[in-house]
Symmetry: C3
Subunit: 346 residues, 3 copies
């Protein structure tokens, strides 16, 4: 896909400055690696030093972002929000592969299925009975959709994602390969020296505009639903146990685990490899920093770190104190001796 620079600027809401606005742009790249025919962005002043050596033909930059030494051959694309304009440019220059309307002959469609318009259902995909798929959705090769599943419009279910029975999925949801939605929650009662399985008869409800990463697991509720709120984004290899209620626009990074029956409120951020014990509330907009383990409620807007997690400032103070601890041990030993001497003298 190639676009004349002037046209790209117009489509992305940018004003042109310098360079050759009639140049052809064929792709987007980072400022450190871009070459002729590519467009880049400069939004972080840490990268400003790369500008003068950049071979990019064009660069999105914010109104008023001060730069010097712009290469002669580079056109600045000045705009209010260069990150968003660059996203627009990337979408134009690197359009997603399209999938024509098609139900592959090797797909298995069980009885009583409701199919929307303009669907792509790939080879070896399986749609269980009583399920429905909304308009414009893609169910890629080998994706497994269980029985009585509802999938909304414009969803993309990647190869070998697995949706267990009774799961409900909204519109514009992306589920990557290997994600397992609706497997049994992990619940047992210990009786007569053995673990008796608690039936897991709830489901998972995923609201609109959610993205779920590769190999992530979201367990069905024991009773009732595990809920993923609208706009939440979940990275790869995340474990979300049964009956969690995840709010809207929550971020969960890779390898994070949420045990069960938690409330993760809107806009919370769980950074990489963090973990949340069961029945915990993470307040609206709270941030659980990477590798932290949370055992009790976290207030809205708080930032916590460590395992067990504490308020970030407290945790940092303790970390600094720990780094002084070996020295402190020596010092106290010395004070002890001095006191002994003073006691002898007095």
């Amino acid at each position: 896909m190639s676009i004349i620079l002037k046209e790209l600027a117009d489509l992305c809401g940018a004003r042109i400055e310098g360079g050759d606005s009639s140049a052809t742009i064929h792709s987007a790249a980072e400022i450190t690696s871009a070459h002729q025919g590519q467009v880049t962005q400069l939004t972080n002043s840490r990268y400003t030093r790369h500008l003068k050596h950049s071979m990019a033909s064009a660069c999105f930059i914010a109104e008023g972002f001060g730069v010097e030494n712009v290469p002669e051959s580079m056109t600045l694309l000045i705009c209010p929000d260069p990150e968003l304009s660059f996203i627009k440019a990337v979408e134009l220059l690197h359009p997603a592969r399209t999938y024509e309307q098609k139900i592959a002959p090797q797909a298995v469609l069980e009885a009583n299925i409701i199919l929307g318009n303009n669907l792509y259902i790939g080879p070896y995909a399986i749609i269980g009975e009583d399920s429905s798929i909304g308009d414009d959705s893609q169910i890629h090769a080998g994706a497994y959709v269980g029985k009585n599943v509802k999938i909304g419009k414009n969803c993309r279910i990647y190869p070998y994602a697995v949706i267990y029975d009774d799961v409900v999925i909204g519109n514009n949801v992306i589920i990557h390969s290997g994600a397992i939605i609706g497997a049994d929650g992990f619940g047992y009662k210990f009786r007569n020296n053995a673990h008796v399985k608690v039936p897991q008869v709830g489901n998972v409800v995923i609201e609109d505009n959610v993205e779920i990463g590769a190999n992530t697991c979201i367990d069905r509720g024991a009773l009732g639903s595990t809920l993923i709120g609208a706009g939440s984004k979940i990275d790869n290899l995340v474990q979300i146990g049964h009956n969690n209620k995840v709010g809207k626009n929550v971020i969960m990074c890779g390898l994070t685990g949420v045990s069960g029956s938690c409330n993760i409120e809107d806009y919370a951020i769980l950074a990489g490899s963090s973990g949340i014990a069961d029945h915990v509330t993470i307040g609206r907009g709270a941030v659980v920093m990477a590798r932290s383990g949370v055992a009790g409620d976290v207030q809205a807007g708080a930032q916590v770190f460590g395992s067990p997690a504490k308020d970030k400032k407290t945790a940092y103070k303790e970390q600094i104190a720990i780094s002084k601890l070996p020295e402190l041990l020596k010092k106290v030993k010395m004070l002890e001796e001095k006191i002994q001497m003073l006691e002898g003298n007095s």
Copy 2:
């Protein structure tokens, strides 16, 4: 599925008190969300306060569990073990989907396979040569069973679980989607600046009544077997390396990793995101608390916390001490000054 309350009580071994024993119960729910026509349980005194507002038509409760303010419309189902009775009720009201005896035409069955009676083998499931499947087992859509695999009776292998060659699986085993059983262990020797692969020619043996969560990985032995003992329950996204011996009725929660050649003895509990270094023994009934990292043996019955993990009491004491550390630093500085003054005086 609906049941008359009186009948439900009988089937679950409960005695009726109050309410309308001829009411129809159609499903089970938690006490906080149950409404008319639903049965619930009250087994934890933290939830007693919810009883008086509950709309549930019936509630399992232990003989002698003191409650007041039972709603008029609610029948108490009094029994010796309400948790188990409630499990029974859930199973009655929410029966698992049944799968009729069937070998889907799209399943691939290689040569020399022994099939038991009353099997369900779903579309695109693959059974490798020389393998056997016991009576009443379900091999769901797309599940992959390698060559020379033995699967016992009444097992349930969910879609896209993968069983590598030579794995042996007992009876009543549940393996969820995306679980990978028997991939190569992670073993290399470093020679001439490169990693030489150590052949992984052992297998995995899974005893009866084990449940294995979604996307969990259990590696085959390098030589000999990786063993999962009877009744053990393993959550999602758990990594179990080669040649581990996991005992009976062990619990392993999500995102836990066990490196290799460990002994995890009967009834041990590895909580979420914990990790065990190689060649370590976790004693019978020991508990490794969430996010703990164990580098040395843990005695039977011990509870350990932290990374590196220590006896729980010690670890907690240290955690408390750390929280006092910033204050301690100030105090010692003050003492230092006082001593200096005393030294000047003496």
Copy 3:
């Protein structure tokens, strides 16, 4: 597979001492479990005590590795590198299953594919358009190869591994089941109270001789490539985010996470459940110890531990100091009292 001991010794470059060199060896085993007809190795002096009770018919051992009490029936196989010789023996005695040249009729091959010689493509494998597979490679049952993917020679792609579009894979690469290569990186911009997806239009490049464990995820670059250098070995359930550059012969153990845009230089080792924040460089040959969390650059050759990770010696010193901290608190309290008394006296 059986071999006469004398012949095995020759094939593995070992000299025979004692025992019966005409014995038949049928398999390999660990020294603690080996019995008659099996060959073992002794390379670690911790295991020397097991030698005298071993029933193995033969044992690889290093030139000059002092042993006594060798059982009469055991032949020592003396060689310069018993670990490598034992690997050779295991490969001879336990040969990998062979897969005859075959393209299963149930495989889906889209348009414009270039296939090498001597390929095995299993049932329900899918190869997307414009992709190529090099000679002698195995694409096992149900493996998904997207569009415009290049796979080199002699690769083994296990069942239900997923290779997204545009991924490039070198020669002799092994990818285990459930590994997801090339899913979207985790990138969003927060605008108008929602997360706007940053298009992920790069790819993943995997060089020669790489092995990738079960259920591991390697995300495609946002722009440009995520790179896995030649000879690197990655365990199960590892998360490698977008635009990471992993060098040659790197080791990453299970459940490790690397956020994004990191440089993991040649020969680095990331032990189990470790984590690396974004834009971090892990220097050549550096070791990140198990469960450590790295937020800043690590120098070549360094060993770091803890979360936040520090130089191993510093971290260990702090760990020891922490274990003395509860005692220290008491001691300081005592000193305080003594000083008070001294102050009263002076």
